[in-house]
Symmetry: none
Subunit: 190 residues, 4 copies
Amino acid sequence: MTRAGGTRAALLDAALAVFDERTYGDTPVAVVADRAGVSVGTLYRYFPSKEALGNAVYRLWKERLAERIAAARPADASYAATFAAIFHAFVGFAADHPEAFAFLELQQHESYLNVDSRTASASVDGMAVEFVSQGQKAGEIRPGEPNMLVALVYGALVGLVKARRSGLRLTDDDLAAAEAATWALLDIRS
Amino acid sequence: MTRAGGTRAALLDAALAVFDERTYGDTPVAVVADRAGVSVGTLYRYFPSKEALGNAVYRLWKERLAERIAAARPADASYAATFAAIFHAFVGFAADHPEAFAFLELQQHESYLNVDSRTASASVDGMAVEFVSQGQKAGEIRPGEPNMLVALVYGALVGLVKARRSGLRLTDDDLAAAEAATWALLDIRS
Amino acid sequence: MTRAGGTRAALLDAALAVFDERTYGDTPVAVVADRAGVSVGTLYRYFPSKEALGNAVYRLWKERLAERIAAARPADASYAATFAAIFHAFVGFAADHPEAFAFLELQQHESYLNVDSRTASASVDGMAVEFVSQGQKAGEIRPGEPNMLVALVYGALVGLVKARRSGLRLTDDDLAAAEAATWALLDIRS
Amino acid sequence: MTRAGGTRAALLDAALAVFDERTYGDTPVAVVADRAGVSVGTLYRYFPSKEALGNAVYRLWKERLAERIAAARPADASYAATFAAIFHAFVGFAADHPEAFAFLELQQHESYLNVDSRTASASVDGMAVEFVSQGQKAGEIRPGEPNMLVALVYGALVGLVKARRSGLRLTDDDLAAAEAATWALLDIRS
DNA sequence: AATGAATGAGCATTCATTCAT
DNA sequence: GATGAATGAATGCTCATTCAT
């Protein structure tokens, strides 16, 4: 056990770590159990299958990401300011939990995600699409299919995090520039 | 055999098809051989291992993508026009070879790519970085770490293609809007 | 706990029930404990191993069967009447305790029965063989190796119970006919 | 490979042997493969699962038993003579293939037999029930539910073979007595 | 050259048994 | 006494790779 939260939390932590180092598909459950400091049998006491474990990890972190973004959104602010807040929440999440972000966005989960996990994922997307739609109505965000704009912005952010993961060192100024550039994707004035 | 190019080409075709339908990691070599209409033994006559096959597919299509982008780049044109050309080449490649694009950009290859494959990948990136650097010197592309800007743009493009793959229908107007938005990521005037 | 007899009896009851529904070999001890309403740990307080539990269940019911047959045997009666009494005891036992009879006679226990259980089993057989031998001496039962005749009769009865278990519906008249037929196996006049 | 018939036949032979020595449920597939002199992987090339292997063995021998009984049945003969022929076929089969007979009749297969196997099993039963029904119409076999009479006779035969398996030595005279006794189960004159 | 049978290490999962609380 | 979390050996099955034909 590596955490106060007990065995289950230790398993979720260990699973995230090793799923990130290798990949969900390339990680034997024995490796997860080892990392968590428990036996395979114990892992199966907490999760009925490897898939269930993968879904639990996925959902846990998607929900944390969703919460962080939801919490970051200021009540009254311009769209540019709101975007900045959301952008920082997103990049901050990726900075604080790089393994979690990489696991969520850089791996393919199609083959095992269940409906709850997909719902959690859709919730993050939904918030983003809604944000864009409202910005368009307010005349602050460029016109166009909102899902497409979200895909572009989300993809850009994922690309950014992926590049950092590959070794790209970025200063705070760089990140500020990244924010400005990404906002330009949406800004009606660009 | 499904191609004039012979058995090797048939295997590369089959591999791309099944690696896209499933995943490199989830695809038994027997499935590739079946799809190519040959036996496993024959597959191993052309490729010494599954990894070698995966690398060959990866490199083949990364190189085709690089060629298409290189060919698309106009000799003398504004940076905006050059960007438009590159954007179209990229999106056109994804439209013409959706399985290839998905295999290249939507899967994780870290665990098996060899140095040649990584070189081929870097060549696409290198062209993009060079384009951005020159644009910056010419005062047309916003300042900032060129690798970072490339990561943002490349990520946005990948996000766009991924969204289409997930079922998002886009009109030509939508794509024009996407191009404008993505160019705004770089445009010094944004 | 489902019985006045306490935890041990509850475990024996539960074990018989689930060993019949599934099979001794296919039943995890946790299922037995659950059914008895106790924890696995408690099961192991009463029985040192799964084998010990299996043997206890086996012996318990073999002994009950032996007692019932012994009790049914009339003091003075013709062999035909004695046979009828034994037959009824046997069939009555199977009717009253179908799970017990099925567990005893329809499963394979060779892999785990200990010597006490085998002794209990032999006691039932012994009574039958002795009955046949005496009947032969009295000129009422057909000649032949008594163990063989017992095997035929016992097998016929097992076949009958097995058929009922498989869904064959029998009236009282049918059962009377079965008794007559089975007696014919032994009757020197047949 | 232990047989001319090739790997598949060797696996069926090995499976019967070890399923008889232990039990279907208690036999790891690795033991079957070992006995057949092949690797586990090879076993799975011939049978998609352990269940499939179990069914194949079951069906193979049920069909052989059915064939032997069908072949033994004389065209024109009294019911007693026909019964004698069937009895001898049955006991002869058990004598010639004791492991097959034990596997078929002394184990529980309910948990894995598929519909084809059950059909094969029903074919043996069906022949017996038909024989009894016709004998009843001809006034040679005692009245009563034919399935019940078959269950008694079949059970008696199984009991006989089981006893021999347990070490009971029987002479030809004993077997003749067994036949007479078993026929008495059916004979209307008993 | 082509085939496909054979191999065996590797993986997800189960379950009898133990023991700290 | 009772509990149930923890253990880890065992099992069914897969699949990359080899090699005799």
